[in-house]
Assembly symmetry: C2
Homo-oligomer: 671 residues x 2
């Protein structure tokens, strides 16, 4: 394993020009980020908190669950306002994620007014920082004496990590280093407090995040200590005796989240919940809280790549394989249970009880982005795309005003309402959450999409995602302009124009779902070479204006789960391109679980530019098992079943729940 020139584009170097993500980026810029700013300031009027227990509605002892108080916490910690802390112990991270997202947004579209707001906010953050560099509004306001005593639960390093990401992003966006310096002081304090030396704590975060953030700090400042500290946290995790046991004894069993996880809060959830059951290098399966898993693995790959640590990288690749082969929903969702938002066991993928947290799928993107930096294999990009186009996009309503935390594959609103096991499966998106991690996480992912679209390795351009854009890409030996035109994900044709001459490679991902059927041309001459590791490597001396055309297989397809997924046995799903489709009651009436798609039924694609902000629908002839007429019986003997013919209409999964409360299903009985 040797360090190579590997990078992703700066955000200002890629301009998304049209199509689905042009619309969504605009929405995030014009609707989501301003709205989130209002929520952080408690000036939003429409935000309705979600009160279900899974979403931590009983926010820190106050069962009103009033939205944010996030900026207020900083002002109180800064001594600018009077009052008490309110919100989750990790409330600070909401602001951090917003600042990070806004920084990306400023990169692609500078805006003085917005920058001024950010600068003023950074001033408040600076004032909230303690003399020794410590920054965390919860502990500063409520428990100054208890800093770093409950890493297992209290998210101090997590919050610090998010603010470091924001600092690095804002520095990159504007060249202003005030926040970066604030976070360097915090990073230095953490570095002075944690490490192998005897006088330091031998701990690691309960919720991973700071590892990948410290790598960003290292990249922004070139300070080697930050990389070393990230590596320390990665390597320390899982050593015995467990740090969280020691810490738990030291604080006399005091716990923060006991109301949520009795009797000892997150500590009660055991080592797997926070991935300290084993050293990361020895972990073979993702266990516990799915978001934490993604953040852990992302930080670990960063460290592995920068320190040329093949063993660590291989461990992460093994974890990836376990996830995609045994623990991921068709929609790119992960986490099979609302209880502690966890992975459960191989092939245990219940469609109705699923968690599939939006943040976890955003985390899948973080993870696969870094895997692609370490090894340019199209399979990682396939998984990135699966998460992005399905669970991530479904996390937000089409109007950008409401959000899902949980992304189910099967919903019946009546059961969600009446069966408390399904209370987490909301049939409509709430505007905000007591635990508001997902909306700002989506925002920062969408605003930084260019970093996912391309991986650059030496003089090779890996095109991971097909999104219409103009890009200026910094290869190892030259800068290359390219333009991509496409109506992906609704059409499979991609035109790429090389705008810079020179010898470099354009590597087009051939998605696994198109591996059987695709066509590529350069300047209208067919390309005949083989796909390697999921990419078609077009290396040549390009002339300005050279055109590459790729046509992917956009026939609608039937998808089946591995028979070991017991909940999907006898069922089929429909996919077209990267989009998983679903049936919704609005198009197909009630009783979706009684619908059968015959094995031989054709799937017909139709453009619907007006529907759901522009989609392709898929039609098929199907059957619905009729209910028993005039029968009051719950159980019957050998009955002649009646079926009615139904014209099925499938819509892309990400567009579901935009037409009011209704049934939805991804998996359908096959006959």
């Amino acid at each position: 394993m040797k360090k190579q020139y590997v990078t992703t584009p700066n955000i200002d170097e890629v301009s998304i020009t049209s199509g689905l993500f042009a619309r969504i980026s605009k929405l995030v810029k014009e609707q989501v980020l301003p709205c989130q700013w209002e929520i952080l300031n408690d000036t939003a009027k429409d935000a309705v908190p979600d009160h279900s227990i899974e979403n931590f509605s009983v926010a820190e002892g106050n069962d009103e669950g009033y939205p944010s108080h996030c900026i207020a916490n900083f002002k109180i910690a800064a001594g600018l306002e009077k009052g008490d802390f309110y919100g989750m112990v990790f409330q600070d991270s909401d602001l951090a994620k917003w600042l990070e997202a806004v920084s990306y947004r400023l990169m692609s579209d500078p805006n003085e007014e917005l920058e001024k707001i950010v600068d003023e906010t950074i001033d408040i953050i600076g004032k909230a920082q303690q003399e020794d560099g410590y920054l965390n509004t919860y502990f500063t306001i409520r428990e100054p004496q208890n800093r770093f005593t409950n890493l297992c639960e209290c998210h101090e390093l997590y919050c610090a990590g998010h603010m470091m990401e924001a600092a690095a992003a804002y520095y990159k966006a504007t060249g202003k280093d005030k926040l970066l310096k604030i976070m360097c002081r915090m990073a230095d304090l953490i570095d002075a407090s944690f490490g192998p030396e005897e006088n330091k704590r031998h701990g690691y975060p309960g919720h991973e995040e700071i590892e990948l953030a410290l790598v960003k700090m290292y990249k922004a400042t070139k300070e080697e200590r930050y990389l070393k500290l990230a590596k320390y946290f990665i390597d320390e995790r899982g050593k015995t005796p467990y740090y969280f046991d020691i810490e738990f004894e030291k604080r006399n069993h005091a716990s923060h989240f006991s109301y949520l996880y009795p009797p000892y809060g997150m500590y009660s959830n055991g080592p797997k919940y926070e991935q300290y059951h084993l050293p990361i290098r020895e972990q073979k399966t993702f266990e516990g809280h799915s978001v934490r898993c993604m953040y852990m693995a992302s930080g670990a790959i960063d460290v592995a790549r920068l320190t040329e640590d093949k063993e660590l990288l291989d461990a992460c690749k093994g974890l990836y394989q376990n996830m995609v082969q045994k623990r991921m929903y068709l929609t790119g969702g992960i986490g099979s249970t609302p209880k502690a938002e966890m992975f459960t066991s191989d092939y245990d993928l219940p469609n109705d009880m699923v968690y599939g947290e939006t943040c976890a799928s955003v985390g899948v993107m973080f993870f696969t982005k870094r895997l692609l930096e370490a090894e340019q294999n199209g399979d990682y990009a396939d998984t990135m795309e699966r998460a992005l186009y399905n669970t991530c996009l479904a996390g937000m309503s089409l109007d950008g005003k409401s959000f899902f935390y949980v992304n189910p594959l099967e919903v019946d609103p009546v059961i969600s309402r009446e069966n408390p096991d399904r209370a987490h499966v909301l049939p409509v998106r709430p505007a905000w959450f007591g635990c508001a991690c997902c909306p700002p996480n989506l925002s920062r992912m969408i605003t930084s999409l260019p970093e996912y679209m391309y991986t650059i390795c030496n003089n090779e351009i890996y095109v991971n995602l097909y999104i219409a854009n103009k890009a200026k890409l910094q290869l190892k030996d030259q800068t290359v302009d390219i333009e991509v035109q496409t109506e992906y994900p609704y059409k499979g044709k991609i035109n790429l124009t090389a705008e810079t001459e020179g010898k470099y490679a354009v590597c087009l991902r051939i998605p696994s779902w198109s591996r059987e059927k695709w066509k590529a041309q350069i300047n209208f001459f067919e390309v005949s070479q083989a796909v390697e590791n999921g990419f078609l490597h077009l290396e040549r001396t390009w002339k300005k204006g050279d055109k590459v055309t790729l046509e992917l297989d956009f026939e609608p397809k039937r998808i089946y789960a591995n028979p070991l997924v017991s909940k999907d046995v006898g069922k089929v799903a429909v996919q077209c391109g990267p989009l998983v489709y679903c049936l919704e009651e609005a198009d197909n009436g009630k009783g979706l679980q009684r619908i059968y798609l015959p094995k031989d039924a054709g799937l017909k694609l139709a453009e619907k530019p007006e529907k759901l902000m522009g989609i392709n629908e898929i039609y098929a002839k199907g059957y619905r098992l009729k209910t028993l007429e005039n029968s009051q019986e719950l159980y019957v003997e050998n009955t002649k079943w009646n079926y009615e013919l139904v014209n099925l209409t499938f819509i892309p999964y990400y567009t579901w729940a935009n037409r009011g409360e209704n049934e939805m299903t991804v998996w359908i009985h096959e006959k």
Copy 2:
């Protein structure tokens, strides 16, 4: 509605002579009751408590969950021992149920030694009673000042009810009235504390039970006040403003079960949980905690019948119809969620998440027994039989040494272990529970089985259950001896001999599953008359030795759920006689959820006298969907699926989980 002569046999009047229930009755007498006595006294060695949260493992603040302490609590309350209360707030009821079961056992088989133990125990109970008649060890030891302040959660009236049932039973068994007098004093105190008068509390129990118990006290003592008090509790329930709201405010929101149901314990679960959302007469669906529902409806029918209250009876009948038509598992289990052990919504019957508490199905027997007393309709007995032969019997291992609280229809031990949503679905029976309601509830039902076997109305004998027995039945105008010989539930032939001459009716239930095909003869002459309300009324002047022969349809049958039960769409179950069958891994290998039973596969019955203490097995040719060979893919396109032929072996559901931890399923894919 007019009061009629309606009764059930005294327990000593029916002697079970052979077959399944002869064995089980013996088991309860010789194994279960003595073992439970040891547990109540904390002298049992093998009892391993179940530590899952659903089973209240964190018993009252002590996370050791050590078995019982039940007798010790009484001794401490009596001043005979020093120490603190330990166990559930309703721990007293464990002893009460045991005393009741032992009383029934003494009726059929007097035993001086056992009676002596009971008398000594009653002495302790007497000493634990307070001067004013109050009896409850929790409040006496821990919170004497808080009596009757938290009816919503604290089960005082529930415990009193169970001890009243025990008192009435022991009095009936032995003629000794010491416990009866103790409970009269407690009933009098309750009567003085609750009622419509201004100086009394206008409350009702959080867990129904005392209503039906007061009716038993009324029957034992002829004291009308007890019936009136039962009626008061029935009628007061659900009136607004809700008593539990008033009480909650009065005690300043103090709560008992906040560790289990945050933040305010059972009060947080809302009115439906404890059926006070509406007056009982206005309730159309069973809501909330399923055991409470059964006890409520049982008490309500008792009151309705004794007070000739047709409106109340009709309400109960409506609730029954809702349950059997929309909210009951094929196995007679009720309660679709472990969260608060509740009913959810119509047709929401998930097989893997099911609660199906053993106590709830015992409650179904209480309820249907009383429905049969009010109206002799075979449908009620069909439901009683469904609950008895499937969920109730499955609640106990074949050796009587371990018990299920939860009775699932689909189990995968790996998922039960790794997915916390399924932690309540145990794949093997534990020996005891922190919340030990189910085992003694089973015991008292089994020991009082004669009360369920027959309903006597005027001069009609309704045979509800076919169990080999000799009975002396008190009809309105004469005493009639009959004998029933049968190998039911393994053979469909029933021989009934009238041993007393006279004019009376023998009414044989023709179960709904045999309505198409049955044959009855009197002295070898075919009976041609029609089935009315599920019974074949054979009214005549009987001669001693007259023989009735009934042959029921014991062909194995395919059963289907109403298509509105979405989890059973495309699936089939197998039943033979009253027994629901299942597939178990021990006979069929792993991967039960990949098995298909072809539509045309024959079902072949075979006697297995040696297996599982004697069963009939059912064989069929089926297919198992093969896993993907050499494929690491989780999702695949149009694949050619491979099936392997498997010889399926079905066993009766009640015998599952007697051969170690393994997969089980009741519903199977049909092809």
